[in-house]
Amino acid sequence: MLSMLIVGFMTYGQGQGQNASQQQQQQDPESFFTSGREISFADDSKGEEITIEIEKDTRIFELKIYTIIEKGRVSVDIYDPENNRQGKFSVGTQLNSGKNERASGEFSKHLREPIAGKWRIKISPSGASGRINIETSFVQ
């Protein structure tokens, strides 16, 4: 039931010591990093929180969240390290429609000199089946 599954996971940052499959382009003198995560869920109602660590000298931060739902509802809230909500959206399908339908939501944000620290993406599904893609880009 609570089967939130991270099916794709790529992280940024050489210093993070995480996945080697990161997509990274080095463009001297600036460093440009991109990362992507895909989270799938099936009839899921368990909340999940994704954190994105932004380092102090990050010059540009771009965040794209793409959600597609085939059943249920999912809400996404984005908080900066000072706990200010920087965005929110929710998508849902009709209750008991019995039809095949999809609903999608896309959120994008571009920030120069983002607040350093942990940005949180709070995902709250309610009987949801679908997936969320989170793409982040950084210029340092």
Partner: protein
């Protein structure tokens, strides 16, 4: 003569029909979009401002197709008489009809206010995002409403391209401007929309006084939009009030019963003491020493000690302090 009456009757009926038609609400517009967009246009009802970034096909109340010039019209005659919030959106080719894009060059929606009598004309010149240059004709209400959206979008775009320090100033200024606008505008839903767009968090105490004053000003507004806003504010939710009151009542009742139970246990324990022990107990409660108890009761020190020990045991206590607190 008969011909004259027939013509007159025809003209009267035509005029009545035309006048009835002109009372029917609609929103028509022109949208110039590139070929990556589908030609369908959707109209959704947004039940509260909390839902302005919610998307579900349940919210879609009407659908139409743009002609080759991008013209479209929605009939609004089925709407209620009260002003409500609506959203027009378009989708990228291949996307689901219930798709919402927030931010970026592909932002695909526009909010507006309407009721069944609204006759709104909208024009969107070619722009990125598609509704960025939207202008309403015949609608003071929506011009004010859209002014909020445009001001906020443009200012936030400027803020996002500014340094962190400058961004704070820009965002604070925008918030203050929106709250001033909310305070002075005479249209209740436009005023409330400005508050939502300002992003003042209902859960922080920072704007508590301002929110109270705002709600006082619009206390007669009892629609779903104002109700949802009131419910966001701690202490304004009647359900919460009821729950808190019930919780307090339950806790008080439990406290009262526990107190009564403890008092009854103490009484029972004191009754278990002998007459002499009870006298010693009363003297101990006054903080009297063993020597003084011995003199007062005319008994030996060792007997006093024995009574004290029995009292401790029967009352399940350990010290003179416990006796005084008993």
């Amino acid at each position: 003569m008969i011909r004259y009456w027939i013509v007159t009757l025809y003209l009267l009926i035509s005029q009545a029909v035309l006048s009835q038609e002109s009372d029917i609400g609609f929103i028509s517009g022109q949208l110039e979009v590139d070929t990556t967009w589908d030609r369908s246009v959707y109209l959704s009802h947004i039940p509260t401002f909390e839902d302005q970034y919610a998307m579900s096909s349940e919210m879609i109340v009407s659908e139409t197709i743009m002609d080759s010039l991008g013209n479209f019209t929605f009939d609004l005659s089925f709407l209620p008489t009260s002003i409500q919030l609506f959203r027009i959106h378009i989708t990228k080719k291949g996307d689901s009809r219930a798709s919402l894009i927030i931010g970026g060059n592909d932002e695909n929606h526009l909010l507006f206010l309407a009721n069944r009598e609204s006759q709104i004309k909208l024009h969107c010149a070619p722009a990125t995002p598609p509704f960025d240059s939207a202008v309403f004709f015949n609608s003071t209400l929506n011009n004010s409403f859209n002014q909020i959206t445009r001001t906020a979008n443009r200012t936030r775009q400027k803020a996002s391209n500014s340094s962190a320090a400058k961004r704070r100033f820009i965002e604070n200024k925008l918030r203050e401007d929106l709250l001033l606008f909310a305070d002075t505008v005479t249209l209740p839903l436009v005023s409330l929309y400005a508050v939502y767009v300002s992003g003042i968090d209902a859960n922080t105490s920072e704007y508590q006084a301002w929110r109270s004053s705002f709600l006082g000003k619009w206390e007669k507004e009892n629609n779903a939009y104002f109700k949802a806003f009131r419910n966001r504010i701690p202490g304004n939710d009647k359900t919460n009030y009821l729950l808190w009151s019930m919780g307090a009542f339950v806790l008080l009742s439990i406290g009262f019963l526990l107190g009564k139970f403890a008092s009854s246990r103490k009484k029972k324990a004191i009754n278990s003491l002998s007459v002499q022990e009870r006298r010693v107990f009363e003297l101990l409660k006054k903080g009297v020493s063993n020597q003084e108890i011995s003199e007062e009761c005319n008994i030996g020190i060792s007997t006093v000690k024995s009574h004290v020990s029995n009292i401790y045991s029967k009352l399940n206590i350990k010290s003179r302090k416990d006796v005084m607190d008993f």
